[in-house]
């Protein structure tokens, strides 16, 4: 088992981070994907994660959503441990009950949308509030319609996903995640599976979220321009570590590390 001596049972103080990775490690057998990751995200902050494929950036989001178990360290969300729970003055690995109690703070959008194909757009959005939060259907419907309106999908509310374009599906997926009122939103390469001409409709929705809501967001993306535009901070991942991080303008405008420079110039050439 992982040695969690010295890890606090909770994070306190007004300036505590919304999300905190503390010495988090992840390995698949002999292959180390993430190595002692330390990353704090403040409340309301928008952090973009960039880097070459295989650098572990998607794993960061999947661990935070508890889709992947971590092999070392601890993740805190809103001051409370997520991957572990307090017991006898120490921390032990979280059980299903603890995970369910903590996951309410987190929402996620996926590269391949993962909408439920047997439900309409509206039913997709209502599913979580009604089934998981136990909200009355009328209230869930009102909330879902409001969100579908916000993402510009209200007209298609009664369509099944198979009748929607990729961009439309992704916008419904964003509304579905927001319907759970998470404190933290995760966007995992949400535009990578989209045709170029519909990427804009999805990035505009995320742009709106970033400017109008006090939502904490983590985003893995390949779109450097978009990341530069809306992020408060950008993290460049390389080989399972944060190679360099800083405000968007600095990291893109004046990268310090050689690997960052190489990556950014390679990406620029490809465009």
């Amino acid at each position: 088992m992982d040695d969690l001596k010295g890890f606090p049972q909770e994070l306190t103080g007004a300036d505590r981070p919304m999300v905190s990775f503390r010495k988090v490690g992840k390995a698949y057998g002999p292959l180390t994907v993430l190595d002692d990751l330390d990353l704090d995200v403040a409340e309301g902050e928008m952090v973009s994660i960039i880097g070459p494929s295989g650098s572990g950036k998607t794993t960061v989001l999947r661990m935070l959503m508890t889709l992947e178990e971590i092999n070392g360290g601890c993740i805190y969300i809103d001051g409370q441990p997520l991957t572990h729970m307090p017991k006898n003055g120490g921390l032990v690995r979280a059980n299903q009950r603890h995970l369910r109690a903590r996951r309410v703070d987190i929402g996620m959008c996926f590269q391949h949308f993962n909408l439920f194909p047997h439900m309409t757009a509206l039913e997709n959005c209502m599913e979580g509030p009604v089934q998981v939060l136990g909200m009355p259907k009328t209230e869930a419907r009102a909330r879902s319609e409001e969100l579908l309106e916000m993402v510009g999908m209200i007209e298609k509310r009664d369509q099944h996903p198979s009748r929607l374009s990729g961009g439309q599906q992704q916008r419904v997926a964003i509304a579905r995640a927001l319907a759970m009122r998470p404190k933290v939103m995760l966007f995992d390469e949400v535009t990578s599976a989209l045709d170029p001409e519909v990427i804009g409709e999805v990035t505009n929705v995320i742009r709106g979220l970033a400017s109008e809501h006090k939502l904490t967001m983590l985003m893995v993306t390949h779109q450097m321009g978009f990341a530069q535009d809306i992020s408060d901070r950008v993290c460049f991942f390389y080989g399972g570590k944060i190679e360099e991080q800083g405000p968007a303008s600095e990291l893109f405008g004046n990268p310090q590390r050689e690997r960052t420079q190489q990556f950014l110039s390679a990406v620029k050439e490809a465009v």
Binding site: L67, N114, H118, Q131, V132
Partner: protein, 221 residues
């Protein structure tokens, strides 16, 4: 030997009554198989490796041995240990269990066809395992399973004649009785064959139509 229509008309009411019993046996056995098959499929998806292995081996064993022998086994082994089962009860158990093993494979295929992203989306919405199965996975596992479920419904119907050997008065049992009472086997056996055709062929067509309907209804097309 000539076909005798008057004899055919005479025995028709008895055959129709026996058709009712055949359908009842098929329906009863299928009801057991549908429920038990799902249990066997889900039992192979728990994190307990030993349970998965034991259930797998039982399913393999029952699938690779003759139903006829299993019918005899259930019917005769009970009394040896003081449990008397009626022909109907043992027949339903044997045929239900046999087909539950086939259906568990159909369910398994259906469940495995549900994309991994669906499970992840359910986790991201903070659903419990039960909710994920009930609301997300099972509804999507059904459409690809419909044709398999339907084929085995026809299959169980065609296997009910084996129940005649322990005295269930379904079609073949009745045809045997009629034949030995009248020393005429041509009409009863031929009629039984035609009744089977008349039921199983349209049913197969209906299943195909139903499969298309389910897919459309669930918005999967």
């Amino acid at each position: 030997m000539e076909w005798r229509w008057d004899f055919t008309w005479d025995i028709l009411p008895r055959l129709i009554e026996a058709t009712g019993n055949t359908l009842l046996a098929a329906g009863g056995g299928y009801a057991i198989a549908v429920v038990l098959g799902l249990v066997l499929a889900l039992a192979q998806r728990t994190p307990y490796r030993v349970l998965t292995w034991v259930v797998r081996e039982i399913v393999e064993f029952i699938r690779s041995t003759p139903l006829l022998l299993q019918i005899f086994f259930v019917f005769y082994v009970g009394p040896q240990f003081g449990i008397r089962l009626s022909p109907w009860a043992s027949g339903m158990i044997a045929i239900g269990l046999h087909y539950a093993c086939y259906l568990s494979e159909v369910y398994r295929g259906g469940i495995e066809s549900v994309a991994k992203g669906q499970w992840e989306a359910a986790t991201a919405l903070n659903m419990t395992t039960m909710q994920t199965y009930r609301r997300i996975v099972i509804p999507q596992a059904i459409p690809p399973a419909v044709s398999g479920l339907g084929n085995y419904l026809v299959g169980i119907f065609k296997d009910t004649p084996m129940l005649s050997v322990i005295g269930v008065t379904e079609l073949i049992h009745t045809a045997n009785t009629i034949g030995s009472e009248n020393f005429r086997f041509l009409e009863p056996y031929t009629m039984v064959g035609l009744i089977f055709l008349a039921i199983s062929l349209p049913t197969a067509g209906l299943i195909r139509a139903f499969e298309r309907y389910v897919r459309r209804k669930m918005g999967l097309q």
